[in-house]
Point group: C2
Chain length 342, copies 2
C-alpha cells in the first residue's frame, strides 16, 4: 500500500519491510522462488502486490552489466523490405525480454561514433546486421571486443558471422530459368550496387541460367543500378532503347521491377505482352502492380526471427558454434511474365 520512495516507485526495500523479511529474501523470491520456503514466498508475493513493486530494470541491468538491448543495423529504414524483418527480430527478442534499437545507417559504409558508442558505453548486448558490413571502424584495439553479432539477409563470408539468408544464387537461377521456359532468350538483368554481396549471388544465378542455353552472357544486358524505383526505371529506359532490346527483364529487387514496368508503360509498351518483368522480394505492393508482379518470395519475418534466435544462442551461450541458417525462397508466379510475342 505504501510507497516510501520519493520518486514514487516502490523498491525492494519497501517490499522487504512490508513482508518483514530482508531484501535478500525478496530478491531470492523473485529470482529463485524454489530457494525460499513457501511461507515466506507467499508473504513476499503478497507484499509485492501490496506496495506495487516492479523491478527497476535500470539498476538490474547495471548490476548485471547488461542492457538487454539489441542493436539492429538496417541499411534504410524506409525500405519496406526491412520492416517485416524487424518485426521478426522484435518478436523473438520480446519473448526473452530484449529490447531492440533500430540503427538506420542510410546505406553509409561508416558512421563514426554513431553506433560504436553504444557498444563502448555498454548500451547494447548484441547486434543484428541487415546490411553486409559493420558500419563503423572496428579495427582499433580497444574496439576489438565487439558484442555478439549475426547477419541477416545479406551474406559476407569474410566476417565469419552466423548468418540467416536465402539461397540467392538458386533463387535467381530459378527466376531466370522460368523466363527461359516461357520462351525468352533475350533476358536482361538489372542488379544492385556492387558492394552488396547478395547482388553477386543473384548475378551468378542469372548468368548460370543464361549459360545453360549455350548462349554467351550479353554484358550489355546487365545493368547495375541502386535498388530504387527510379534506378529501375532509368536502367529500363537504357535497355529498351538498345538496337536489340530484351524481351524480358529480371530485376534483383521488386522496387526496381516496379520502376521497370512504370518506365516500359511510359514508353508505350503493353505489359506483359511486349515485355516480361520478374522481381525479387515479394513486397506487399507487388501484388497490386499492373500487371501483378511475378517475383521471388522472401520469408522476411522468418529471416528476422531466425536471426534473433541465433543471436540469443550466442548471448545465452547455448550453441556457440552455430553456422548459418538457410531459408527457402519460392518463385511467386503472377502475371508480369508471359511468353514473348515474337
Amino acid at each position: 500500500m505504501e510507497q516510501r520512495n520519493d520518486s514514487g516507485a516502490a523498491t525492494m526495500k519497501d517490499v522487504a519491510d512490508a513482508a518483514g523479511v530482508s531484501t535478500a529474501t525478496v530478491s531470492r523470491t523473485l529470482m529463485n522462488p524454489e530457494k525460499v520456503s513457501s511461507q515466506t514466498r507467499q508473504k513476499v508475493e503478497q507484499a509485492v502486490l501490496d506496495v506495487g513493486y516492479f523491478p527497476h530494470n535500470l539498476s538490474r541491468n547495471f548490476k548485471r552489466n547488461e542492457s538487454k538491448t539489441i542493436l539492429v543495423i538496417v541499411p534504410d529504414i524506409s525500405d519496406p523490405f526491412f520492416s517485416e524483418v524487424i518485426c521478426g527480430i522484435e518478436n523473438v527478442a520480446a519473448q526473452e525480454g530484449y529490447l531492440i534499437l533500430i540503427g538506420d545507417c542510410k546505406h553509409q559504409q561508416k558512421q563514426e561514433h554513431a553506433f560504436i558508442n553504444l557498444i563502448i558505453t555498454k548500451q547494447i548486448d548484441g547486434m543484428v546486421l541487415l546490411g553486409s558490413n559493420i558500419p563503423f571502424d572496428a579495427s582499433t584495439e580497444e574496439q576489438k571486443n565487439l558484442p555478439p553479432m549475426v547477419m541477416a539477409n545479406e551474406f559476407t563470408p569474410e566476417l565469419k558471422l552466423p548468418t540467416v539468408h536465402i539461397d540467392n544464387l538458386t533463387s535467381s537461377f530459378n527466376a531466370t530459368h522460368y523466363l527461359q521456359k516461357l520462351g525468352h532468350r533475350r533476358i536482361a538483368c538489372i542488379t544492385g550496387p556492387e558492394d552488396m554481396p547478395l547482388c553477386k549471388y543473384r548475378l551468378e544465378g542469372y548468368k548460370k541460367a543464361m549459360l545453360r542455353t549455350g548462349d554467351k552472357v550479353r554484358e550489355d544486358y546487365i545493368i547495375r543500378s541502386d535498388f530504387s524505383h527510379e534506378g529501375g526505371a532509368k536502367a529500363t529506359k537504357r535497355l529498351l532503347t538498345m538496337p536489340e532490346p530484351p524481351t524480358a527483364i529480371f530485376c534483383h529487387n521488386d522496387m526496381m521491377a516496379l520502376g521497370a514496368m512504370w518506365q516500359a508503360k511510359r514508353m508505350g509498351l503493353k505489359l506483359p505482352s511486349a515485355l516480361s518483368v520478374v522481381g525479387f522480394d515479394n513486397l506487399k505492393l507487388s501484388q497490386y502492380s499492373d500487371p501483378p508482379l511475378t517475383t521471388i518470395g522472401q520469408p522476411r519475418f522468418e529471416i528476422g526471427s531466425q536471426a534473433m534466435k541465433l543471436l540469443l544462442d550466442q548471448l545465452q551461450g547455448h550453441n556457440i558454434n552455430v553456422g548459418s541458417c538457410l531459408l527457402d525462397a519460392d518463385l511467386i508466379i503472377r502475371e508480369s511474365a508471359q511468353a514473348p510475342k515474337s
Copy 2:
C-alpha cells in the same frame, strides 16, 4: 594504457589513478569542465585518453534514474508513412543523446503489459505517440505517473498532450476544392477508421467544401475504409458500380488512392480522364503511380523532429506550457486529377 577492470573496460577509478586525482574530480572534469583548474583538466583529459576511458552509460543512467530513451509508439511500422516521421524524431533525439525505441502497436487499442512495463520499470523517459491513443490501460493509480508525452500526426484534444500536426480540415478542404475547381460535382470520398480523429477532420474538410457549392452532401459518396490499398480498391469498386458513380474520388491517404486507381483501371477506366483521384500524404511511391498522384504533401520529417523537440522541452523542463505545433501541408498537383469529361 592500463585497463584494470576484468570486463576489459576502463572505469573512472582507472582514470583517477592515472591522473593522480579523485574520481570526483574526474567526474567534474567530464561534466563541468569549467569547475576545474585548467591544470588538472589537462591531466585528466590525458589520462582519459591513456586508459581509453568511455563513460559507462548503464551506470550513469542508473545513478541519474533516467534511461535517456524515448518510446515511439507507431500504429504500424510497415506503413511507409511513419518511417520518415521516425527519422525526424531520431534525428533530434540523437542530438541530445537520446535513443529511441520503436513500439509497433499494430493498430491495437490496448496491449496489456507490453509498453506499460517499460514505463513502470523506468526504461523510458518519455513517449511520442504516432497514433491517437495511449495503447495501454493507464487508469490504475500506480500507473498514473506517466512520463512526458507528445502526440504527432494524430490529434486527440481530450488527452491534452502537446501535439504536432497539420491542419487536416483545411488541407482536406483544399483538396476537395481543387477537384471542384476542375469542374467536378460528383466527388466521392474514401475515409479511414472511425476511431482515428484525423479522419474526422479530413471528413469535415471534405463536407465543408461540398456544402460550399450549395449541394447537399451525399452520404452514399462517403465510404469508410481502412487506409489500406485493398480497402481503397474495394471502396472504389462500390462507388463505381453505383447508378450514378462519382467523377472524382478524394482518398484520405495515398495508399487507398493507389488502390482506387488500381481498381478503376481494372474495371477498364482510363485515368485520369474517366476518373480523377486525389490522395493524402505524398508517399514516395505516389509520384510513380500511373498517372502520378495528386495529393496533400505532409512534412513527415518535420512532424517527427518537431514532436521530439516538444518532448525535449518537457524532459528538460524548459517551456512546460507549450501547446501544439501546426505545420503546413500543401496540395501537390500531378496528373491524377483533371477536368471531368462530360
